[in-house]
């Protein structure tokens, strides 16, 4: 039985992948229905079911941690309480009710915004650590480019020292339109080729990220 599962899952994955690819190049309209869109909609619906399974998994992990011995998992308690309260509010009053919007606007968004604010400090600290960790050509080019962009973006530098500021701004324009843009295109090409190669491996059944 163990042997059959990979064969079934591989067949389903390869067949549906090939079908979507072929329908992309040659749309099939039967009874005025675009079958590629239909297949993608099925995948989206399955994704929603997977989300529900994921949430159940998240709840089970944290409820088990509450039962475990050792230091009391405060994070798990907060998560479980938040999950239960949100679930009840949305189930009883609806997803666009005052209660649900209150949770979103006054709890979730502020908490996430505060983490984004921490992100700015984190990045500055990480840049300083980069100097300490690896000083090589790439790091120096990376940091000096970042510094030039920051300096020329700040009106303080360009207004206080207009002559230097103008030159720095010209340097920034050159940086962003020539090396940065060229480098980004090169990286994008690499990513695109990698994405195609990964897709083809999956279509060939050589790469099975579904554990088959």
């Amino acid at each position: 039985m163990n042997l059959k599962i990979p064969i079934i899952s591989t067949t389903i994955a390869v067949t549906s992948g090939l079908a979507v690819l072929l329908l992309y190049f040659s749309p099939l309209l039967i009874a005025n229905v675009d079958w590629r869109t239909v297949l993608l909609q099925w995948a989206t619906s399955l994704g929603a079911v997977a989300l529900l399974v994921g949430l159940i998994n998240l709840a089970s992990v944290h409820s088990r941690r509450l039962d475990d011995e050792g230091p009391f998992p405060v994070n798990s308690l907060v998560l479980m309480l938040a999950m239960i309260i949100t679930f009840i509010v949305v189930l009883v009053f609806g997803p666009t009710s005052v209660g649900a919007m209150f949770i979103l606007n006054y709890i979730q968004i502020p908490v996430e915004t505060s983490l984004i604010a921490i992100l700015a400090v984190t990045l500055i600290y990480a840049s300083a650590r980069l100097v300490r960790r690896k000083i090589d050509t790439f790091s120096i080019v990376f940091l000096s480019t970042g510094l030039v962009i920051l300096l020329t973006t700040s009106p303080l530098v360009t207004d206080l020292f207009p002559i230097v500021g103008e030159r720095l701004q010209a340097l920034r324009a050159w940086f962003t339109s020539v090396p940065a843009s060229g480098g980004a295109r090169g990286i994008l090409l690499g990513i695109a080729l990698g994405t195609i190669a990964t897709g083809i491996r999956i279509l060939m059944g050589a790469d099975r990220p579904y554990g088959g």
């Binding site: 163990n2 690819l21 190049f25 993608l40 995948a43 989206t44 399955l46 994704g47 929603a48 079911v49 997977a50 989300l51 529900l52 399974v53 994921g54 949430l55 998994n57 998240l58 089970s60 992990v61 998992p73 994070n75 979730q108 996430e112 983490l115 984004i116 921490i118 992100l119 984190t122 990045l123 600290y125 990480a126 840049s127 650590r129 980069l130 960790r133 990376f142 090169g186 990286i187 994008l188 090409l189 690499g190 990513i191 080729l193 990698g194 994405t195 195609i196 190669a197 990964t198 897709g199 083809i200 491996r201 999956i202 060939m204 050589a206 790469d207 990220p209 579904y210 554990g211 088959g212």
Partner: protein, 253 residues
């Protein structure tokens, strides 16, 4: 023929060409023992980190991001799953098996499935624990917060980030830095690559991420597809240069 008006024909050509090249390199590679891949220090350090984690009784955390399965960003997560599969095969026999986090329901299920397959392959299927693959949050920031909690609370000595990430990757990497662990990261999102270059000990830039399977010896097809990628890249470089020269010459005459 005007190629710009026949993009679908061009796409078929690229996909078919890629497919053929992969098959050719796979057939040629069956008898080869060495591959002559250029050295990417990040992967050597990863292999070392896996060994050290097993020896030290700590665990590795593989985060496969929050990409959607129906978006192109899923390819980066699939590479993360390939890495997870390789790591699971090596480290699942240890007291502290690897743990995987995702920000998407389908990816979390795939991570569980990959870990289960890893356990089965080393003959320890009964030891598999589904809690090892989990969804940590549904928005990018909540996903990062959940991943940070794993790093801080679950004896993690190394973090591998491979998938679709945004700015929130910096928070996960910062948590790793505080715990003093090893970090390797790669993504398909260009601004995040810059963040990873700064905040991660080892960053995979551009196509290096997609070479993960080949460097971790995930199979012949991974190496063959890497070689196909190289060939197509050189063809594209030649075409871009030829196009530039052609345009320049048109300016002269």
């Amino acid at each position: 023929m005007n190629f710009s008006e026949n993009s679908e024909f061009l796409a078929v050509l690229v996909v078919a060409g890629f497919f053929l090249l992969i098959v050719i390199f796979a057939v040629l590679g069956r008898t080869r023992t060495t591959w002559g891949l250029r050295s990417i220090p990040a992967f050597s350090r990863l292999s070392r980190a896996v060994g050290l984690a097993v020896e030290a009784g700590s665990r590795l955390h593989v985060s496969i991001g929050h990409g959607n399965l129906t978006s192109p960003g899923s390819a980066a997560s699939f590479v993360g799953l390939s890495m997870l599969a390789r790591i699971a095969r090596t480290a699942s026999i240890s007291d502290q098996p690897p743990i995987a986090s995702a920000g998407d329901g389908a990816l979390a299920i795939l991570a569980q499935d990959t870990l289960r397959a890893g356990y089965r392959e080393v003959g320890a299927g009964e030891d598999y624990n589904p809690d090892l693959g989990r969804i940590t949050g549904l928005t990018p920031i909540s996903f990062a917060a959940g991943a940070m909690s794993i790093i801080e609370e679950e004896n993690v000595s190394g973090n591998i980030l491979s998938g679709h990430f945004g700015m929130e990757a910096a928070l996960i990497l910062e948590a790793n830095e505080r715990s003093g662990g090893f970090s390797l990261s790669g993504t398909d999102h260009i601004p995040t690559q810059a963040i990873m270059f700064t905040a991660s000990q080892e960053a995979l830039i551009g196509e290096e991420l997609y070479a993960g399977g080949a460097y971790l010896r995930a199979g012949l097809m991974h190496t063959a597809s890497l070689q196909a990628q190289d060939v197509v890249r050189w063809i594209l470089v030649a075409l871009i240069l030829a196009g530039g020269i052609w345009k320049m010459l048109q300016g002269f005459f």
